[in-house]
Amino acid sequence: MSELLLKNVTLADNSQVDIHIKGDRIFAIGSDLSTTGEVLDCSGLMALPGFVDLHTHVREPGKENAETVLTGSRSAVRGGFTAVSAMPNTNPVADTAGVVEQVLRLGKSAGLCDVFPIGAVSAGLNGEHLAEIGAMADSAAKVRIFSDDGKCVSDPLLMRRALEYVKIFDGVIAQHAQEPRLTINAQMNEGVVASELGLTGWPSIAEESIIARDILLAETVKSRLHICHVSTKGSVELIRWAKSRGISVTAEVTPHHLILTDELVRGYDPIYKVNPPLRTNDDVVALRAGLADGTIDIVATDHAPHPAEDKDCEWASAAFGMVGLETAFGVVVTTMIRTGLMDWKRLVEVMSINPARIGGYGDQGQPLEVGAMAHITVVDPKKEWTVDKQALISRSSNTPFHGSTLTGDVIHTIYRGALVLKDQRVMGGENVSNG
């Protein structure tokens, strides 16, 4: 049985311990532990429960030139994630048991982290008929989260039925909240910047009106609703209100919406083109406050890799999306910990415990305790580093943070007791092309 010892590592409560891992479990936590296996000196480093991403585009099947399950898994463990959730907007769409099982199998064969498939709500993401939700739930992938992400389930009847239907197995609908009629040809946040740039606006109300409707639907049918990538101040207020009424709603915010604003679009560089769009400073402040006070439950990356040619063009032709797995932790530390808005305990909740709970991801998101499955992310909480898009592990390099300095980085990642990231080197799948 393989052994691993993390020596002198700090926990989220600031205590300093040794963590002894045997096989895939945490065998002992204490001081002056010893092992016959590998020892990692973790002085100055922190051990946190492995991060869980609830919103990842791994692009396989269909767009393997942007990312594959393997390259996405490698990128994930570089970012400290021991589990990711594969969004279904692939080609073919993950709307049948066959496709979600294929993604599950690709994740297992990559073997670096858990890859949990998310199933489509509607067949072909067309927003007309329910996908085979039950078959996906019963499949080997045991899908519990369903989403048409990239598109909104805008038909209120379909949304109601989907919320009701997933109650069979305590599933959850993850809504991409975007009223389609209010966002025809939308290019960026509706605001003074869009007006000056002559780019069609994506108004906050297009997100908020869907959230308002869906929390009322969730209340009515008593089902679980999850809101993807909340981006506006008004959305935060609606979700806060819903929670105060006891409605079963959870919400995520992306790292980029915690730090970037629509002012960045002024140069028309499509690296800043993302959906939902970058909003204003007021929104950023509200999102940070919502994440800190529990209104927003989790950080989710919305990691959206694109090949270079999809961004190396004029704004209107460019694809929406940013890669985010490898910079998520640094952005959260920079925006939430360094600013004093959040402590490490809360960071563990929003990046590990809560997403695992929402997804029903069994042994993920567990406290670091003896006997627990060893999913551990070891971070340097103080390390300052400059993001270099060329150095990303992801097959794509569309990061908006190239050249930015972040605080906090991931050093080691342990998945099922195995060191899958060691000294920031991914231990597996090296033979894949990165370009």
Binding site: V192, S195, E196, G198, L199, T200, E309, E314, A316, S317
Partner: protein
Amino acid sequence: MKHLLSINDITAAEAISILDTAAQLQNLTSGTVKKLPTLRGRTVVNLFFEDSTRTRLSFDAAAKRLSADVTNFAAKGSSVSKGESLKDTAQTLQAMGADAIVIRHGASGAAKRLAESGWVSASIINAGDGTHEHPTQALLDAFTIRKHFGPTRSDFVGLKVAIVGDIVHSRVARSNVLLLKKLGADVTVIAPPTLIPYGIESWGVAHSFNLDEDLESFDVVMMLRVQLERMNEAYFPNGREYSRGYGLDEVRLGRLKAHAIVMHPGPMNRGLEISAASADSVRSVVLEQVSNGVLVRMAVLYQLLAGPDQAATGVLA
């Protein structure tokens, strides 16, 4: 000045210098010989991704009167319609030796992207990018206004200008607002609320939903083209109602100041935003705008391509 992408890129003094150059060019080319040798051996490419016969012909004439070689590239029926990217198209033209690329594109920001992405090294002139800007139109409009309200004035302080119509989708309006403000004019945009841009308060102009309110106060009334298809997107009920509220008909024309001028960037929708009588009236300077367009575009090409020394002194060799 390497590119002309936005009115934001030039100062008031630079704008006036372009207008002065255009005036000099007018003197030099008003005789029987309309052509100057200034840009002999230089190549100007008109890269038009949208149909715009007028603007293309205007740039074409401007470049030819300065003796530049002109290549016209229209996207329709070309490699672009087969999926070639803006980048590849521009680099191909650059490889053929373009010194300046005049670009008209349906995407806002396309000209800036071309100038700043490192794809090409040529000078870029924005001939209209999506619903963003159309800087040479604003310059030719300023040239026209200046001719009527003082050909040597260096600012527009005291002039009251109304811009009427589809402000939200108009690159002409955006460039004109920026330039007219830069020159000190008092600008009011007039449109139904659906066609007023979000956050107009931050533009530094007055806005009104009522064309009849202050009509007597304007020195310049600039009518914008309204696309009838907009009614399908619920911007207004139909052409008749639009015309009744925001069209320049004879009654409104009659209320204008004696010296007021009526402008329109063309092409006009007669009977929609402007009545035939208004379009053809003595106040209408629409055709002057067209001929001034060639002069102003000559001035821009000259300032971008003929070297900074000549441009700075305004001396035409």
